[in-house]
Amino acid sequence: MKEMHLIDAKIIRNEKIDHDIFAMELHAPEIAKTARAGQFIMVYLDKGELLLPRPISIYDTDCDAGTMKIIYQVVGKGTAVLSKLPFAQDVKILGALGNGFDIEALASDKPSHVAIVGGGIGIPPLYLLAKTLAARGVKIDVYMGFRNAASILMDILVNDLLPIANKNSIATEDGSAGYHGYVTGVLESQGAGIQYDEIFSCGPKLMLQAVANLAKRVNTPCQLCMEERMACGIGTCVGCVVKVGGNYVRVCTEGPVFRGDEVMCDG
């Protein structure tokens, strides 16, 4: 069975990086040691009426320091509580959960060239992926979509990713930076003619659907990181399902990463 750790992790940092985006760094050596890109943690809020833990992707890990980082957007009560937790406080977390990206899918006998495609707050799990792939000598083209250029998240991600990416392309919905339109548009135009070995993606459902369609058209395998509402996070409640090959399967256990040709993003 998968190794899971239920620990009280000390908050080393929890700060606003954009108007509703926060970065939290936690001391969690057990999780940092085993976590793979695309895996997530459950964060327990310990707040009476907010019963359920919140699933958040692992943005980065530092095995030597025994730390891990998450980046989250305040969208409701739970993430608001999270954003107010002070430095040095313990927060209960469970991880690392889920399957993570399948990096072994890449051929080991020749250098690979991959595309990483992310939209908005779907980008966090892709950073650790890029880092892991870069360490294996994989050539990475990063495509990121944002609503507009005023996103500090965008700057941070670009800064973090710049040193490891072969190419970094940005799309904004309002055209205020980079390509004007959706990230799949920039992937289609700038990626035209490149035969990627694999496309990795995380973001809103509609974007994942578009990426899956595009990947199918250009005959490229793709891996999509999905989200669904969760209760347990460990496979017992069967609450977090998506349809794969006609059956409902659990995002927390069989996912969150699924092959694009198997998962139906629209339901």
């Binding site: 069975m1 899971m4 239920l6 327990y44 009476g48 009426e49 907010l50 019963l51 359920l52 833990p53 469970l94 669904e228 509402r229 969760m230 209760a231 347990c232 460990i234 496979g235 017992t236 409640c237 069967v238 609450g239 977090c240 399902v241 998506v242 059956n247 409902y248 339901g267």
Partner: protein, 302 residues
């Protein structure tokens, strides 16, 4: 040393803490956080004769102090459960309660018979109350005659004692409990989830794919305590009290209302170690209050 054991329908449970069906899988995942050997029994997720596909997502919606679920009893069938999950459970020194679901009386008979050859099962728990399946459970759990009939036929085919799990979505819980008793039930479990609904006002859509679902968690505890109290007074059957138990104080409340054992459901999601923490709390409470055996406080509310 306090004596934690309880006698439930002639079977000794080593402690009064049980897990609630559908919230603990088959124990495998939680065995990483909890010593299953300390639990009185593990109630596994509901199983049916044929595989059930379950409801469309979203299946989960949090509410104030609770949650709604509309899983739709997705399960790979009793046969798969026996092949894949039962061997794991047999390693532990605890009792196993198999929760059975069906859409018709015939379904219940078929799933009960699936266990004819299975070893390592201590009880059946009949889910006649699942609010999520439109055709079956609902009707049986809301009519005393139906409850009596399904209990009787399953009893005829069961090789283990039968617990009937009651639905709270009724006007008179006592009449259903008496129906199950008349059908030959060996024990009762109450309550299942209360029907509820949440609407996303921005999208103007229900949050759940199934529109309505079952409410569980601390929010339903007072309803559950009241029903356990009423049923304990009106029948002679042992009761597993369930609904919102998340602390040892909650468990003691159910026992004072008349429950023989207490099962922990949604609290496992909020705290994977909930069962053991509740059990430890009960031990301290008994020591502090010089209670040797929970019989001393069971059903003490007049």
């Amino acid at each position: 040393m306090v004596d934690l054991s309880v006698n439930f329908a002639g079977v000794e449970l080593k402690s009064p803490i049980v897990t609630a069906s559908g919230t603990f899988g088959s124990g495998k995942e939680y065995s990483q956080f909890v010593d299953l050997n300390r639990l009185g029994a593990i109630t596994v997720k509901g199983v049916s004769h044929e595989p059930w596909a379950g409801n469309p997502p979203p299946r989960i919606a949090e509410t104030h102090g609770g949650m709604l679920n509309a899983i739709g009893l997705q399960n790979p069938s009793a046969r798969e459960f026996i092949a894949n999950d039962l061997p794991f459970l047999k390693q532990f020194d605890t009792k196993v309660i198999v929760n059975l679901c069906g859409r018709t009386i015939e379904d219940y008979i078929a799933v009960a018979k699936d266990f004819d050859e299975a070893e390592g099962i201590d009880f059946f728990e009949l889910n006649i109350s699942c609010p999520n399946i439109k055709a079956g459970g609902m009707a049986m759990g809301t009519d005393p005659k139906m409850a009596e009939e399904v209990t009787r036929v399953v009893k005829q085919h069961a090789k283990v004692p039968v617990i009937v799990k009651l639905s709270p979505n009724v006007t008179d819980i006592v009449s259903i409990a008496k129906g199950a008793e008349a059908g030959g039930a060996d024990g009762l479990c109450l309550i299942n989830t209360l029907l509820g609904m949440r609407i996303d006002i921005r999208n103007k859509q229900p949050i759940l794919g199934n529109k309505i679902g079952g409410l569980s968690g601390p929010a339903i505890k007072p309803v559950a305590v009241r029903m356990v109290y009423q049923v304990a007074k009106a029948t002679n059957l042992p009761i597993i009290g369930t609904g919102g138990v998340s602390t040892w104080e909650d468990a003691i409340e159910f026992i004072m209302a008349g429950a023989t054992a207490v099962s922990v459901g949604t609290a496992n999601f909020a705290n994977p170690r909930a069962t053991i923490e509740i059990l430890d709390g009960i031990i301290s409470y008994m020591q502090d209050n010089k209670i040797q055996n929970l019989n001393q406080i069971r059903g003490i509310i007049e």
